[in-house]
């Protein structure tokens, strides 16, 4: 955490008061630092843990089983790349059925919940999030036998949620709902294939207030994404406005043969968007 001890070379009463205040802030920053040292103590996490996991025990993920990739300091708090990757030991008959992404200090703490289906390899998802304040970020994996595992990282970033969506809000509205769906590489039956879904959407958090007009831009975001291949569900996501503008999801699935990769997205105003990609095995 970046804390500079206030410089208290005294000159005049006003400056002294500024110093006292700065020292108070410094103390509260130190208190924050303690919380950073002990992720379990985070009050928001305690609440989420109680409501989402009902007091079930959550083990620290063993090395290599659940990687949470996020930079230690965000380059841009409104667009922070994050990845959750799982790997179960060879011969383990379970699968990861759910990955939950929690951002302790965001206004909406549960950023996303991804549900996976068996037979699609190691569950893996990459997306981009807004980070509103220095915070812990957590990935929680639920296995098919009900066991829970967690990985935690700390990130320095601020202002992502209350930042206005987009560098050019006027243009964003024009393109709302456009989708791009693609896979990287050739379809080889039985081999995992990387897919990328892009949805053009401002994903308004409802947190950005125009102080001059005193108006909030109402929340308007993509809340649900369902992906299927050849008629069978692959992955579904419940999302929140912690996901960056123009939601971007990268995930893997295992095609068994030719088929249609189909995506259906629903936003918080019940608008529905669809995209389909027809896949055929590479000519050998």
């Amino acid at each position: 955490m970046h804390i500079t001890r206030p410089n208290c070379g005294l000159k005049g009463l006003a400056k002294h008061a500024a110093c006292v205040l700065a020292a108070l802030l410094f103390t509260s920053a130190q208190a924050q630092l303690k919380t950073a040292d002990n992720p379990e103590a985070s009050p928001n996490w305690q609440k989420v843990k109680a409501s989402l996991f009902k007091g079930r025990s959550i083990a620290a993920a063993p090395a290599g089983m659940l990687d949470l990739e996020i930079p230690q300091r965000a380059a841009d708090a409104a667009v922070v790349p994050v990845a959750m990757r799982t790997r179960l030991a060879a011969g383990d008959s379970r699968y990861v059925k759910r990955l939950t992404l929690v951002i302790d200090s965001n206004p909406s703490v549960v950023a996303a919940v991804f549900d996976f289906t068996p037979g699609n390899g190691n569950a893996e998802i990459e997306t981009r999030v807004r980070i509103d304040e220095y915070t812990h970020v957590r990935a929680i994996a639920e296995l098919s036998d009900g066991q829970l595992f967690m990985s935690t990282r700390h990130i320095k970033a601020s202002g992502g949620c209350s930042a206005p969506a987009g560098k050019d809000p006027a243009e964003a509205l024009v393109n709302l709902g456009k989708m791009r769906l693609r896979v990287d590489g050739d379809l080889r039956p039985g081999q995992p294939l990387l897919a990328q879904l892009m949805i053009n959407h401002p994903n308004h958090s409802g947190m950005a207030m125009d102080q001059m007009s005193r108006q909030f831009t109402p929340a308007h975001f993509v809340r649900q994404v369902n992906v299927s291949y050849a008629g069978k569900p692959v992955m579904s996501a419940e999302l929140d406005f912690s996901i960056s503008e123009n939601p971007n999801l990268r995930f893997r699935f295992v095609p068994r043969g030719p088929g249609e990769l189909k995506v259906e997205a629903l936003d918080s105003q019940e608008q529905r968007f669809e995209s389909v990609l027809v896949l055929a095995p590479a000519a050998s």
């Binding site: 500079t4 125009d210 960056s244």
Partner: protein, 310 residues
């Protein structure tokens, strides 16, 4: 309770501050054109608030201020510098774009000229952009420097510019131009017609690495237009004023073009945003300061824009 009282008392002392504000150091770069060069630092890094170039232009009737600085205190010091240079009132306070290092001193000018409020001039999209970000700026000021930003600290523009507009300081006209989205979505330039001095805001950076908070392609298009302008003295938003025009643009243009080329290449090679950020070397040894603060941010913005290119 004690804290609340202390805060109330501090606010009172802050309001009393104008009387003692030390004037900012100004340099007269052309007749009647005064420029203060900010430090080459990131705003609020180690509490830095004096990081942008600020200026004022003196006409026969009154004064126009161009940008007001990164905290209320800097605004007060700029106001003191105006008073030191001329007895004339401030009639226009122009904001070149909605970024905190340029506009948080606005409040100091609300009653700058003996109680009569000047016109607050900005791009037509400024109010929305500044309004939506103001909460974050106040939070950063409080967290990083212990400064409380009053809710009314950002005066709403009373004169919104779309396209071109001319304002008159008495025997001296300034040509204002509101640009399409480039560095930000609220970029405004100011040309003093008498001396051909062009105030570029952050459409042009010198020394300080350019920061992309708008549209990369739009910014390059704006630069192409700017370089055709007849300019005797160019005043960037950060870094030293220069007579070499459009020479001053060259480094920035090269940087932004390289950024565009690198990101397009990463997209062609289907590299994810995370991979692109990870692999990118931060340019060192070139013309840019603060690359470690801004290069990855620029890559992120460019990537999020260009991935939607056809």
């Amino acid at each position: 309770m004690a804290l609340r009282m202390l805060l109330a008392w501090m606010t009172a002392s802050a309001l009393a501050a104008p009387a003692v504000a030390a004037p900012l150091a100004m340099q007269q770069v052309a007749p009647g054109v005064f420029v203060h060069q900010g430090q080459q630092q990131a705003w609020m890094e180690a509490q830095a608030d004096d990081v942008a170039n600020l200026a004022f232009i003196v006409g026969d009737r009154c004064v126009a201020v161009v940008d007001t600085g990164g905290s209320p205190a800097i605004g007060q010091r700029l106001l003191a510098a105006v008073a030191q240079a001329t007895p004339l009132p401030v009639c226009f306070v122009i904001s070149t774009h909605a970024h905190p290092d340029h506009v948080l001193g606005l409040g100091a000018f609300a009653a700058a000229s003996g109680g009569a409020a000047p016109q607050f001039v900005a791009h037509a999209r400024f109010a929305a952009a500044a309004g939506a970000r103001q909460h974050n700026w106040a939070h950063a000021l409080q967290r990083d420097a212990g400064i409380t930003l009053q809710p009314q600290a950002l005066a709403a523009p009373s004169l919104a510019v779309t396209g071109a507009m001319e304002i008159d300081l008495g025997g001296r006209k300034l040509a204002l131009r509101a640009w399409p989205t480039g560095h930000t979505d609220s970029d405004l330039t100011v040309l003093d017609q008498q001396t051909r001095s062009l105030f570029l805001g952050d459409l042009v950076f010198a020394g300080h690495m350019p920061v992309l908070d708008g549209k990369l392609k739009g910014w390059l298009a704006v630069l192409a237009e700017l370089q055709r302008m007849d300019v005797a003295l160019a005043i960037p938003g950060h870094g030293a004023p220069a007579r070499d025009w459009p020479g001053l643009l060259a480094d920035q243009q090269a940087y932004l073009e390289t950024l565009q080329r690198d990101v397009r290449k990463a997209l062609r090679e289907r590299r994810s945003l995370a991979q692109t950020l990870q692999d990118a070397p931060v340019p060192g040894g070139g013309p840019w300061l603060l690359a470690e603060h801004f290069h990855r941010r620029n890559l992120t913005a460019a990537y999020a824009e260009l991935e939607w290119e056809d």
